[in-house]
């Protein structure tokens, strides 16, 4: 077994790199091809992909469905807003430096409580706890601005090397911010790939598939789930931190539980059984929602119909369906 494992892993890594390089090249080219608005959409898509990637460590790899991931996204966004309000420096690195520990501590704390349960109770518990944060953000208006939310101005990037003001400031900001988010996105994807393929990731999958056997192997199940929760929440929190300077405003909406539902939707849309599923889902969902909102007042209805159809017809998501079709095609080729 052990002698077989490394080449297999290298091969899957090779396949991933072979697939990722062209995609990455296209992503690097994007700003020279499209306008500011489209570029903004791609950034939102990448951010949604990071959030869903983090969420999927719990659902896809640990087998726990969280209905409260809006909490970590929102805590990331609000911690940036508090930094702006009280500490001053408008620097993206500073936001990340302060925001990531806050998000990590929050998810560690909530995770510690939530992983005592599994299945449906885990879902309800995550939902209940995220609603605590939501109602606090809504009601403690002298701190959070209530339903008006908090404004976050454009930060300087790369330790103040790039700052954006003047008439074309926003266009320049979006352009630079795109590469900034893309960089963090690539780091997140690599990091998550390493986590998922590490012995730790394998242990999570073992727990997901058969908890009793994993326990017989001597795995401390609750601790593994807890760390998985912590990593998952932190990734989603990073997405929240990246989201807020682009949006310019954070409101309690990103803490409400229906936003958690959208994160679940995103992962399912791409396919939560695949590593790349949530990434594809994040980008597709962003476009789907944007165009649904633009084309009809009843976009929620449209999304609901898509979700129900998806669950009924394509339970493995976009990536799952494509990879299955690809397998069938190659098998047919091998047969002839």
């Amino acid at each position: 077994m052990t002698t077989d494992a490394p080449p297999l892993r290298n091969r899957s890594l090779l396949k991933l790199v072979a697939a990722a390089v062209p995609v990455l090249l296209v992503l690097i080219m994007v700003p020279s091809l499209v306008g500011t608005y489209q570029l903004q959409l791609v950034i939102y898509g990448l951010i949604a992909a990071i959030a869903a990637l983090g969420f999927n460590l719990l659902l896809g790899y640990t087998g726990l469905l969280s209905f409260g991931h809006s909490a970590y996204f929102g805590v990331g966004a609000y911690s940036v807003a508090f930094v702006v309000e009280h500490l001053g420096p408008h620097s993206m690195e500073f936001y990340l430096l302060i925001g990531i520990p806050i998000v990590a501590i929050t998810s560690a704390l909530f995770g510690y409580i939530c992983v005592r349960h599994t299945r449906i109770f885990f879902g309800i518990l995550t939902l209940a706890i995220s609603q605590v944060i939501y109602s606090l953000a809504l009601k403690l208006y002298w701190m959070t601005g209530g339903s008006d939310g908090l404004r976050v101005p454009r930060p300087a990037l790369l330790l103040g090397l790039l700052s954006f003001s003047g008439p074309q400031g926003f266009q320049h900001f979006v352009r630079s911010y795109y590469y900034y988010v893309l960089g963090i996105f690539v780091i997140c994807v690599i990091l998550m790939w390493v986590i998922v393929h590490s012995p730790f990731g394998k242990a999570l999958q073992g727990i997901r598939d058969n908890e009793v056997r994993a326990r017989f192997l001597g795995l401390q199940i609750r601790r593994f789930r807890w760390i998985s929760f912590l990593v998952s929440g932190t990734f989603t929190g990073v997405a929240g931190i990246l989201w807020v300077p682009l949006n310019g405003l954070t409101t309690p909406d990103v803490l409400y539980w229906t936003f958690s539902g959208e994160i679940v939707f995103t992962a399912l849309l791409g396919g939560f059984r695949n590593f790349t599923g949530p990434i594809v889902g994040g980008i597709v969902f962003t476009y789907l929602k944007t165009y649904a909102v633009a084309s009809t007042e009843y976009w929620q209805l449209l999304l609901g119909v898509v979700l129900v159809t998806l669950v009924l017809v394509l339970p493995t998501g976009i990536v799952g369906a494509i990879s299955r079709a690809g397998q069938r095609l190659s098998r047919r080729k091998a047969a002839t």
Binding site: L65, R116, G123, A128, S135, K139, T258, G261, L303, V311
Partner: protein
């Protein structure tokens, strides 16, 4: 003293509506093992349909007393929606993982919320005429609408009827048998599919009734269902998912805490409720009266 009495009555009013919503949610989970995220939206549909029917009734000049008949009609229409939804959308999911059931009901929630906006628009729909038909009582030196007492009465009657139906009728035995072991019940010749439709229909009827009786006291607005669902979750988590007694006790606890919260710590009122729910889940995962 009079203020205290009115606060207690208000708590009971709220508890009665909450019980109707939470008991339906709990019944559906108990029998079908589905957590219906669209349950709050069904409650909102009940409120909208009733308010709309009452509005039509007034426009057509129906005698005011007769308009009270619109309350059960509103509830029944929600039950009808449930009877259509269950075989169409939920039945394919009983053999699949719980995640998919949650997702499909979440999709249903989105659809229902927007359908309400499509049909009734964004303006609140009120049926307060019904409240004005009944007299206003004097409690100590304060006034209290008799309609609120009617709501409390409906809640109590619904609890008694539901309890009698589940524990003292043949249908109740069928329900409980299916809830305990679906395959065994089926092997003994029970029509499990029919029991599921009935259970889902009754659950929806309860939600619809909650919406119908609440709408004369407060107008039907968009988003009322989503808020109600989360509070109903708190109720069933405290009382125990799948337990009728739990829904009753949970509803009373939540509404008294909430009334006290609005009085003494308005900023933290909701946070305290969710915290109580989280604490109960930690200490007793199955809730106070749950067995699952």
């Amino acid at each position: 003293m009079a203020i205290l009495t009115i606060q207690i009555l208000n708590s009971l009013l709220y508890a009665s509506v909450l019980f109707l919503i939470a008991a339906g949610l709990s019944l559906i989970f108990g029998v079908m093992r589905i957590v219906n995220l669209a349950h709050g939206s069904l409650y909102a549909v009940g409120a909208y349909v009733t308010a709309w029917l009452v509005g039509r009734g007034i426009a057509l000049g129906v005698p005011l007393g007769w308009l009270f008949l619109m309350l059960p009609v509103g509830a029944l229409s929600v039950a009808l929606i449930g009877i259509v939804i269950e075989p169409l959308l939920l039945r394919p999911f009983y053999r699949r993982a719980e995640e998919y059931q949650l997702l499909v009901t979440f999709g249903l929630l989105q659809i229902l919320e927007d359908l309400m906006r499509l049909v009734w628009g964004g303006t609140p729909l009120s049926a307060d005429t019904l409240m004005d038909v009944l007299p206003i009582l004097r409690v100590g030196g304060l006034f209290y609408p008799a309609y609120n007492l009617l709501v409390i009465g409906v809640g109590i009657v619904a609890a008694v009827i539901l309890w009698a139906a589940i524990y003292h009728t043949k249908f109740g035995v069928m329900l409980r048998a299916t809830s305990q072991d679906r395959r065994m019940a089926s092997a003994l010749g029970l029509n499990v599919g029919l029991v599921y439709v009935m259970a889902f229909g009754i659950g929806c009827f309860m939600a619809g009734l909650g919406g119908a009786i609440v709408v004369p006291t407060q107008a039907a607005v968009l988003g009322m269902g989503i808020d109600a669902l989360v509070i109903a979750f708190v109720v069933v988590v405290i009382g125990g998912l799948g337990s009728l007694k739990g829904a009753l006790v949970g509803a009373v606890v939540v509404s008294f805490v909430r009334t006290a919260g609005i009085q003494f710590f308005p900023e933290l009122e909701l946070a305290v409720l969710y915290l109580i729910a989280a604490l109960v889940l930690l200490v007793r995962p199955t809730g106070l009266f749950g067995t699952a």
